[in-house]
């Protein structure tokens, strides 16, 4: 019941947007090749479900999820290494910043060169995109515990690992979840854009690109709609997980 009420407001806004969009497309005939009306897109989605499902498999299951997991894990691990070894923090971290924006456009073709024509380069692009937000957030999060709490762990002569698992990781969770959430959308964008530059001839990005080429803008928007729904669900799952893990954070005790 509560979930339903929570859905009501965004749904209302969504319906409003769609209605305005549809009306605009009818009133001032916006060229179909620029922006198709929602009704047209809806019709296309209805007829292309198998194709959309196939592209979903190719992009989300094969590239987004593995890439997101590897990228987030890598960011976290490097953050932990930097935290553990001061030498790395001083030496590696400034260099880590260099990888913050390896521009997709340049990296994607290189990834194809390095990782071949399969799904690997797409995963690699997602990894590169998601790595930095996690690194930065995890580092900030690891600093988030209070002095008193850290002194307590010191008084127990807790090892670095123990302090990490009992105190610093839990305290870092709000930051880590921020990264996971940001990365969930970045991973979608990354995987799709990687397909623009990749060699595979299936997937949401590929379909969008060829859709452009053949001026099937309705197909492009159908894929966009799928991306939006999938991305939002992905995000919603993370919000639920966040609430379960960081229930103690003041932001949940209004």
């Amino acid at each position: 019941m509560k979930a339903l009420r929570n859905l009501f407001a965004p749904a209302l806004l969504g319906v409003a947007i769609l209605v305005i969009w549809e009306a605009a497309c009818r009133a001032i005939p916006i060229p179909q090749v620029l922006l198709p009306a929602p009704s047209v897109i809806g019709a296309r989605i209805a007829t292309e479900i198998p194709l959309l499902a196939y592209d979903f498999l190719k992009t989300v299951i094969q590239a987004v999820i593995p890439g997101w997991i590897i990228g987030c894990a890598a960011g976290l691990v490097v953050a932990l290494l930097c935290d553990r070894f001061d030498f790395l923090k001083r030496g590696l971290l400034p260099l880590g910043n260099f990888f913050s924006v390896l521009p997709l456009v340049g990296v994607a073709p290189i990834m194809v060169m390095w990782f071949g024509t399969g799904v690997a380069p797409n995963i690699a692009v997602v990894v590169i995109m998601t790595f930095f937000p996690m690194l930065v957030n995890a580092l900030a999060g690891l600093q988030a515990s209070s002095h008193l709490e850290r002194d307590l762990m010191r008084s127990y002569n807790a090892s670095w690992m123990q302090a990490l698992t009992s105190l610093r990781l839990p305290a870092a969770m709000p930051f880590i979840f921020n990264a996971l959430k940001i990365n969930s959308t970045l991973a979608m964008i990354g995987a799709i854009v990687a397909e623009f530059f990749g060699t595979r001839i299936a997937g949401m990005g590929f379909r969008m690109q060829t859709g452009f080429g053949s001026m099937s803008l309705d197909l492009v928007w159908a894929e966009i709609a799928v991306a939006a729904v999938v991305g939002s669900l992905f995000y919603a799952l993370l919000v639920l997980a966040e609430r379960a893990v960081t229930f103690w954070h003041p932001s949940y005790r209004v």
Partner: protein, 289 residues
């Protein structure tokens, strides 16, 4: 401050390790493209090294090749000439900065709205998230065309793409940050019957500073990505993105790599700048070292 002073040596050591690994990696990675030349040069160890480290179209160029190209495009050409890498860096940087500033303002503004209105947060948040799952490269051409038709060309469309990409991390981070003040502090403001604006200004914003800067670091990196992506549908006439694209299109490996290096250096500098601002701000706020 302490870390900065002690940074030079670790950075150098790590760089050195990277360079060595890089050179070593060149050998197997360039084997495919270089094998013919290696054979032509008579094979053997020396030939393998020289050919895989000096191939004109390598899978991965050796560091000195990139350095040479950087030298040629940065230092031997006037910075305003269009063959100069500096010129292209500036083109990208300018739209990055505009996009970053707009994105930060938008991100903070949205976060403030979301924190203050349950209804808005419920109605807006899903759409903000959905907006981020739309691959920007897919709609960028449309945005550019529409903006172009409305008379906006040049810097602004590219900056808007940056904005679109970079406001999101700021919003997410700031929503958390603005909600992070301790219960006792919120109660205190409550007892003063402080207005929402005062609570925001005196409590929520200061408490959100660690979240803000973390978000800004990510946002500025993403803004740069956005600016580069935005250059593609605008005819890729100038900027790092144009260099990457045209380098890639014409098979100019070194041009791609030096553009990549330039982009990374810019990104690292920008992130460093944000980090510097963070340290200064935190010091002014009396945060314990």
């Amino acid at each position: 401050m302490k870390t900065e002073r002690g940074q030079a040596i670790p950075v150098l050591v790590i760089c050195l390790i990277l360079v060595v690994v890089w050179y070593l990696a060149c050998i197997p990675m360039n084997a495919v493209v270089a094998e013919a030349k290696i054979a032509a040069a008579g094979g053997g160890f020396a030939a393998t090294l020289t050919e895989s480290w000096n191939h004109a179209r390598p899978v991965i160029p050796a560091p000195h090749q990139i350095a040479a190209d950087l030298w040629a495009t940065v230092f031997t050409i006037a910075p305003w000439a269009k063959k100069s890498l500096l010129y292209h860096c500036w083109v990208t940087l300018s739209s990055t900065l505009v996009g970053f500033i707009l994105g930060t303002l938008l991100g903070i503004g949205l976060a403030i709205l979301i924190v203050h209105s349950k209804l808005l947060s419920k109605a807006l948040m899903p759409w903000i998230i959905a907006s981020q799952t739309i691959p920007i490269l897919a709609i960028a051409p449309m945005i550019i065309v529409v903006l172009g038709a409305m008379g906006f060309t040049g810097l602004l469309p590219k900056a808007l793409i940056s904005t679109y990409l970079c406001f999101f991390p700021v919003t997410i981070g700031m929503v958390k940050g603005l909600m992070s003040p301790d219960v006792i502090h919120r109660d205190l403001m409550h007892t003063y019957n402080a207005s929402a604006a005062e609570t925001l200004w005196k409590l929520r914003l200061p408490a959100s500073v660690p979240y803000l800067f973390t978000s800004l670091k990510i946002a500025i990196a993403i803004a740069l990505t956005g600016a580069i992506v935005g250059e593609l549908p605008t005819g890729a006439v100038a900027g790092i993105g144009a260099r990457l694209l045209i380098g890639s299109y014409n098979g100019l490996t070194m041009m791609i790599w030096s553009a990549l290096v330039a982009g990374s250096v810019m990104a690292a500098s920008l992130v460093w700048l944000v980090g510097y601002a963070e340290r200064k701000t935190l010091a002014r706020m009396g945060v314990r070292a």
